[in-house]
């Protein structure tokens, strides 16, 4: 209390006439917001603990609960927002670096929303995707510059290793540790059923999930947790994580409290010890060193696995991507500044990096200018929210999209942005067994399959509307896009015309 007292951000509103004191809300809330006062016989709520994850709201059998944003704010000030003032109190009190979760929530341009998609009218026919063939399969990886023939003139049909996707969507990296066993199992099972990939993140691969290997991308990050020969060979591809859109330029730090049981075993570090991922890979301080890591992985896996290099979208992304392509990567994954995270310093999350739309457009153009676009595939992520975003990304030049936040939302995530607490009531960003078991992998995987299948249908509908019956013909087809409400410069970077042109 006193100078550091902050009025709770959220208020729990309980409709007394509906509440039956069943205490389900109390049992559902790991933040211990709800309690039953036996003396007065009513349910109480400690608003200060509420993170607005809406678990209680969703489970209240009588719909007696709602969570509202508090209107007790500081005096309004266009320069000193309520949030800014609160942050100063927190720091003056603790001396701590502000820590947040999930993607940048600030009011910055979302270019997807300013791009509109074309459709056929008169001059060529649109296609009905429900009754005509409509293809969404893609191969990610290096394509040869020249075809080869043997002495008999037959084509040499061997390819560098490729990633085959039934839909141009993959679940992006979320480590076991930052999310739960059941969340991972949901992703792995869904990826297998969908014929796409999920990604281990940097926390190693749980023994139980090796069986999903053909639909797994294994990740090597600077901490090298759980990285060993068998792990490298387990998946369909290896991803080198150089950066993450939510926190470009900094490392990771999974607190010791989350390194328990299987997480510890999978990361191969002792229980309770912090898992610190250095900011750089300490064997990569220059572009030619990246080549070294790519080829050390290729050597260790006898050239059987495509190598993805994942980077955050930053200012010089086009030159960086060109360097990555020339370093021998098979796939470049670009993560935009709206990408999610289990924990990131607020200042980094909200101020570092650039929108993925602009990064993608710049990279695709640069690689084409240099004539090396076919040497490498492009995957983009960092807040792909719907099938429409996927369509626009592919038309801008992406081969496929990485999706993570949307997948978590499908699993129940309410984007309350407190993953760092480890008390996720939805059983996703937590390691507490009683919370993890709330997420049923059977149900979770079905919901993910539903989501991606629905997106696939939408993708096909939109392609059909454009008269395109294979996703290959959409890739880089920027004439299918028009911008609205953008400056000349923005349109130029995106390489698209304004609506009406």
């Amino acid at each position: 209390m006193g100078v550091d007292f902050l009025y709770p951000e959220f208020e729990v509103v309980r409709n007394a006439s509906r509440c039956t004191n069943c205490r389900l809300c109390e049992r559902q809330c790991a933040n211990e917001v709800h309690s039953f006062d036996a003396e007065s016989g009513v349910m109480l709520a400690d608003d200060s603990k509420c993170v607005n994850c809406q678990r209680c709201v969703a489970f209240c059998p009588t719909r007696a609960l709602k969570i509202v944003e508090s209107d007790c704010k500081f005096r309004s000030n266009a320069n000193w927002s309520d949030q800014t003032i609160r942050e100063i109190y927190k720091q003056a009190n603790s001396g701590g670096v502000l820590l947040s979760s999930m993607g940048n929530p600030n009011r910055l341009p979302v270019y997807w929303d300013r791009i509109l998609v074309n459709a056929s009218q008169v001059t060529n026919p649109s296609i009905d995707p429900l009754r005509e063939p409509m293809e969404t399969r893609v191969f990610l990886g290096k394509k040869p510059a020249r075809i080869k023939r043997d002495a008999q003139g037959r084509l040499d049909v061997r390819l560098e290793p490729q990633i085959e996707l039934a839909v141009p969507i993959m679940f992006s990296a979320m480590s076991y540790g930052s999310i739960s066993y059941n969340a991972h199992e949901s992703l792995a099972r869904a990826a297998t059923e969908l014929g796409i990939m999920y990604n281990t993140g940097e926390g190693g691969l749980h023994e139980d999930f090796y069986k999903y290997g053909p639909n797994t991308v294994v990740q090597v990050a600077s901490g090298r947790f759980g990285v060993h020969e068998r792990f490298l060979l387990a998946g369909a591809a290896i991803e080198i994580k150089m950066g993450q859109g939510a926190k470009p330029g900094i490392g990771g730090h999974l607190p010791g409290a989350k390194i328990v049981g299987d997480v510890s075993r999978t990361r191969m570090i002792p229980e309770g010890t912090d898992a610190i991922s250095p900011a750089p890979h300490h064997d990569i301080y220059s572009i030619e060193d990246l080549r070294q890591l790519i080829f050390s992985l290729k050597e260790a896996t006898e050239y059987q696995k495509p190598i993805i290099v994942k980077v955050a979208a930053v200012h010089n992304i086009a030159a960086i991507a060109s360097g990555i392509a020339r370093a021998g990567a098979d796939v470049i994954a670009i993560d935009g500044f709206r990408g999610g995270t289990g924990a990131a310093p607020t200042r980094i999350r909200d101020n570092v990096g650039i929108p993925v739309e602009l990064a993608l457009a710049a990279v695709d153009r640069r690689l084409r200018d240099e004539g090396i676009r076919n040497n490498v595939s492009l995957v983009v992520g960092g807040s792909i929210r719907s099938a429409a975003d996927v369509v626009k990304a592919i038309a801008l030049g992406a081969d496929a999209c990485y999706v993570a936040t949307a997948a978590l939302v499908a699993l129940g995530c309410r984007l309350c942005r407190t993953c760092q607490s480890g008390k996720c009531n939805w059983g996703i960003a937590t390691q507490r067994p009683e919370l993890v078991k709330r997420l049923d992998p059977e149900l979770g995987s079905r919901r993910l399959v539903n989501l991606v299948s629905a997106w696939r249908h939408e993708l096909m509908e939109m392609m059909g509307g454009m008269g395109i019956n294979s996703v290959e013909a959409l890739r880089g087809n920027r004439l299918m896009l028009r911008g609205v409400g953008m400056t000349e410069k923005e349109l130029q970077i995106l390489g698209i015309a304004h609506a009406g042109e």
């Binding site: 942050e87 927190k90 720091q91 009190n93 603790s94 701590g96 670096v97 502000l98 820590l99 947040s100 090597v220 600077s222 901490g223 090298r224 990285v227 060993h228 020969e229 490298l232 730090h253 607190p255 010791g256 510890s264 191969m268 570090i269 002792p270 309770g272 010890t273 912090d274 610190i276 250095p278 300490h282 064997d283 070294q292 890591l293 080829f295 050390s296 050597e299 260790a300 896996t301 006898e302 050239y303 310093p345 607020t346 407190t418 760092q420 607490s421």
Partner: protein, 240 residues
């Protein structure tokens, strides 16, 4: 024993030959070829000449003897096995290694043993016969690093900023004179009997490799550096 003259051969060809060979191999006239023995588990390899960067990356049980100096990132993310270097080793030796041994007769460059970790029965060790460069054992999370300073002629055993971010494992220095400051979150103290017993076992292996006399190597004061906490940054953040 398979003998391969590797002059003019690239890393892919060398590793393919190594995989085909069974048991013992000798590589002659090596000059900078990278990734030798990457991920290999069942070979015994001797190298004449200078192997390139990332020697024995992801090594999984193979043993490598280098009869001269080795370059950077030796034993990168190594899991098991032994790398013996009769000369000096470059920067970032043993980066993120989880198991096995790296024995260096001479000096090590910057960032030796960076982010070494241990788990269960796996506990890696890097023993440096001479001196080590700056940032020794940065983010060390487990395992043992030993710097012996043999023939160091009174020069500092370690460079600047040793043990920054250390949160596990042990560093042994064969001296009782610390010439550079260590960070606040670690403690340096004279080695106890228990420490010396552990060290003796490790150094017995080391001395065996290089024909050194164990008692002579042990006959000096040793300092042990250990982290105070497995969670050095716990108090750095505030939820927002």
């Amino acid at each position: 024993m398979t003998v391969i003259d590797v002059s003019g051969l690239d890393h892919k060809t060398i590793n393919e030959s190594l995989r085909r060979a069974d048991g013992e191999c000798a590589l002659l006239h090596c000059c900078g070829q990278r990734f030798i023995a990457a991920g290999m588990s069942d070979k015994k390899i001797t190298i004449e000449g200078i192997p390139g960067n990332a020697l024995g990356a992801y090594l999984n049980g193979a043993s490598i003897v280098v009869n001269s100096n080795a370059q950077d990132q030796t034993g990168d993310t190594m899991n098991e096995g032994v790398i013996v270097i009769h000369g000096d080793v470059g920067d970032a030796a043993g980066y993120a290694m989880r198991g096995g041994r790296i024995f260096v007769r001479g000096n090590a460059g910057y960032r030796a043993g960076i982010h070494m970790k241990a788990y269960g029965a796996k506990s890696p060790a890097v023993v440096i016969g001479g001196r080590a460069g700056s940032f020794l054992g940065e983010y060390q999370a487990g395992g043992v690093i030993v710097v012996l300073g043999l023939g160091s002629d009174g020069q500092a055993l370690v460079g600047d900023f040793p043990c920054t971010g250390m949160h596990g494992g042990k560093l042994y220095l064969r001296t009782d004179r610390l010439t550079v400051p260590f960070p606040n979150q670690v403690t340096a103290r004279p080695a106890s009997e228990e420490d010396l017993d552990e060290l003796r076992k490790l150094l017995a292996e080391y001395c065996d490799q290089f024909g050194l006399v164990l008692d002579e190597v042990m006959n000096a004061p040793f300092t042990v550096v250990t982290p105070d906490s497995q969670n050095p940054y716990r108090r750095m953040y505030v939820a927002n």
